[in-house]
């Protein structure tokens, strides 16, 4: 026996008490990254957040407004929201794909598959009610996502290839169903209403008040829960500032929209989906695992996460959101034709997520980036349209915007790396 009777058990350093107060002492200081000074510090270190996009939007607004007075009008703004809605919904799903570090090239035509399925179901011989048609359309999309996910995980084929095959294949399926040169008209007023309904001014204000109220409440309750546990809470003025910024944004949007036809219903839909999907991404186990897999597949696997299963789920989310986007687009056009899901839809959707700041390499990004990115793309598209420029010019400019966004992201990441943040 060696050390059974040590003269005195070496007095453990008094670890608990002072240490505990040390890490918890943050209570008096703001949690990192929440007060103004640390925000400036983060900016300097290269963590720009949504700042480049906001600056970009302002530049876009100035350029187009100087060329055409109609750009910054209430009427044009109200037009912009349904214009961007389809891309935004699809890009919401793309964000999840990119968070995993995967890619889904099929979202354009999958959106068309869902829209076609829905539209045909509402026609004879089935004459299904709109809600059944929508559900079936989305279930079909989910099935497509499941198929992609199973192919990718079972055979360990890169998602790029599987969804490239999907891009071709689902385009073919849409063409087969609709027939050459055909157009299927949507008669159902509810479906048409999705992208063509505007809230009355009163309703618009009511929705805005409910939104801001719920947001304030959730932020306040969250901080109080942290405070009650003795954890570092954010100083009240930071919370106040956040709530104020959001409130101003939403109320200003409503005020502008009410100058014209009112708040588009589809705008509210986008916002509701944003809140729901952000909750999934940031506050659930599912979202945590998606980020973890995107950050380090090996770490996720060792933590006991069934990586393959989550990859399949995410491809289903992507396809379902593509379906939602497809339905919104069909609603806006009041029809589905052989061009559905084609053109620049796929590239715009992926570009929206990337321009908004979601990394192509996985693990970094937010659902809200899809909304911001789509706003940029739709603004450019809309502005160029007002100027009467050709689609060739549109593509060139959109391409340059995408390039600029990626370069800003890359440069900011490099400087973050230098300051040891990422």
């Amino acid at each position: 026996m060696t050390t059974l009777n040590n003269p005195a058990p070496a007095p453990l350093p008094p670890t608990t008490t002072p240490q505990r107060t040390r890490l918890l002492a943050n209570r008096d200081q703001p949690a990192p990254g929440t007060d103004l000074r640390s925000y400036l510090k983060r900016l300097r270190s290269g963590d720009l957040g949504p700042l480049p996009i906001i600056v970009g939007l302002i530049i876009i607004a100035i350029i187009f407004q100087s060329q055409n007075d109609n750009f910054l009008t209430a009427r044009n703004f109200v037009n912009l929201i349904p214009q961007m809605a389809g891309i935004t919904a699809i890009a919401y799903g793309v964000v999840f794909i990119l968070l995993l570090g995967e890619i889904d090239l099929s979202v354009g035509y999958v959106s068309a598959v869902a829209a076609v399925s829905m539209t045909l179901l509402m026609l004879p011989p089935t004459n299904a009610p709109w809600y059944v048609a929508v559900v079936v359309g989305l279930v079909v999309a989910a099935g497509v996502g499941l198929l992609h996910g199973l192919l990718i995980t079972t055979f360990q084929v890169p998602s790029f290839v599987v969804t490239l095959a999907g891009l071709l294949g689902w385009n073919g399926v849409v063409l087969r169903i609709i027939g050459n040169g055909g157009t299927v008209i949507i008669q159902d007023q509810t479906i048409i209403g999705v992208a063509n309904t505007y809230l009355s001014p009163e309703l618009g204000w009511l929705v805005a008040i409910i939104f801001v109220g719920l947001y304030t409440l959730s932020v306040f309750l969250g901080e109080r829960a942290r405070g009650a546990q003795g954890l570092a809470a954010r100083p009240p003025y930071v919370i106040g500032l956040r709530v104020a910024v959001l409130a101003v944004l939403i109320f200003a949007t409503v005020a502008v929209c009410n100058e014209s036809r009112g708040v588009p219903f589809v705008g509210v839909l986008l916002l509701v989906m944003l809140v729901g999907l952000s909750f999934v991404a940031e506050q659930t186990r599912f979202g945590r695992y998606v980020y973890a897999i995107g950050g380090s597949k090996e770490a996720a696997r060792r933590a006991g996460i069934n990586v393959e299963r989550y990859r399949i789920y995410v491809f289903m989310i992507s396809s379902v959101m593509a379906g939602v986007g497809g339905i919104i687009l069909a609603s806006r056009l009041r029809s589905v034709d052989t061009n559905a899901g084609g053109g620049n839809l796929l590239l715009y959707s992926i570009a929206a997520a990337v321009i908004g700041g979601t990394s192509l390499f996985g693990g970094r990004g937010k659902v809200s980036s899809a909304l911001l990115g789509a706003l940029v793309i739709a603004s450019v598209d809309n502005g160029m349209g007002l100027l009467g420029l050709s689609s060739g010019d549109k593509f060139i400019v959109t391409g340059l915007v995408l390039l600029a966004a990626v370069i800003v992201d890359s440069v900011s990441r490099r400087s973050q790396k230098r300051s040891g943040l990422v």
Binding site: T16, A225, Q229, R285, G304, G420
Partner: protein, 255 residues
């Protein structure tokens, strides 16, 4: 020996074969509560195979395993985790984009409602664990792991292993990539694990570290036991000799 304390983990004559290669031949191994045991040996001595056998990644072909005096059968990582055995591998496997709390709870998150993560409860538990290990260099447990130093990352990986009521922590080359000051931090941390009455097994190439922190040293060579040493009764030269030319207890059948 007055009081033969029962080893927490005891392996008796375990063997492992990969095809034609006999990786372990009737190896005996034991580690007790409150002790730091160093497992040393040259490349190919079977250290990693032994650890992976304990972790259930490559279960042993033959031999007996006792945990807490009871015979156990470790057939997979879940079995070893259920016993309270946690392994910290050399590559740590942290998700760089997630913060410290998220990494420490990865795969075992706490939730309030069926879906919602209970962030404040996890943050508290994380802080408590880090404090109990005197990990005090972190600015915040809410910073992404990517921004941490090598020593801090090692500390997070160790704390993660300790948090789950683990009883045996196995560390694979914890100081391999670290500078002097950070190595110091990690070795202190290893010592504190033993002070918390955990059993600690440490694989290391660095004999200086081993003598710094270990109570006992088990030397393997060519997949076999050479012998065990008490750190206080041996020298680095003796260990090096044992690692490179120590007498083997079995004839090497694999040739």
């Amino acid at each position: 020996m007055v009081l033969q304390e029962q080893p927490l983990l005891q392996l008796k004559s375990v063997s492992k074969r990969f095809g034609a290669i006999q990786a372990l031949t009737q190896v005996n191994f034991e580690v007790r509560r409150g002790e730091v045991l160093a497992l040393v040996g040259d490349n190919g001595a079977g250290k990693s195979t032994l650890i992976k056998g304990i972790a259930g990644i490559y279960p042993f072909d033959e031999g007996e395993v006792f945990f807490d005096g009871k015979p156990v059968n470790i057939r997979g990582p879940r079995d070893s985790a259920a016993l309270g055995i946690e392994v910290v591998y050399q590559d740590l496997a942290l998700a760089d984009n997630l913060d410290v709390v998220a990494n420490m709870f990865l795969g075992r998150e706490r939730t309030t409602q069926p879906f919602r993560l209970n962030e404040s409860s996890m943050e508290l538990a994380c802080i408590e664990t880090l404090n109990s290990l005197s990990v005090s260099t972190l600015r915040s447990v809410r910073q992404p792991v990517a921004g941490l130093s090598g020593g801090q990352r090692q500390a997070i990986a160790v704390a993660k292993a300790v948090m789950w009521n683990s009883r045996l922590v196995i560390l694979d080359e914890p100081t391999a990539a670290l500078g002097v000051a950070q190595t110091r931090q990690v070795l202190d941390l290893v010592r504190r694990l033993a002070e918390k009455n955990l059993a600690v097994a440490l694989i290391s190439h660095n004999l200086y570290d081993v003598f710094e922190v270990a109570d006992r040293i088990t030397v393997l060579r060519l997949g076999q036991n050479v012998r065990d040493f008490n750190t206080s009764e041996t020298t680095q030269q003796e260990i090096v000799l044992a690692m490179t030319a120590g007498a083997l207890q079995h004839t090497n059948t694999a040739g």
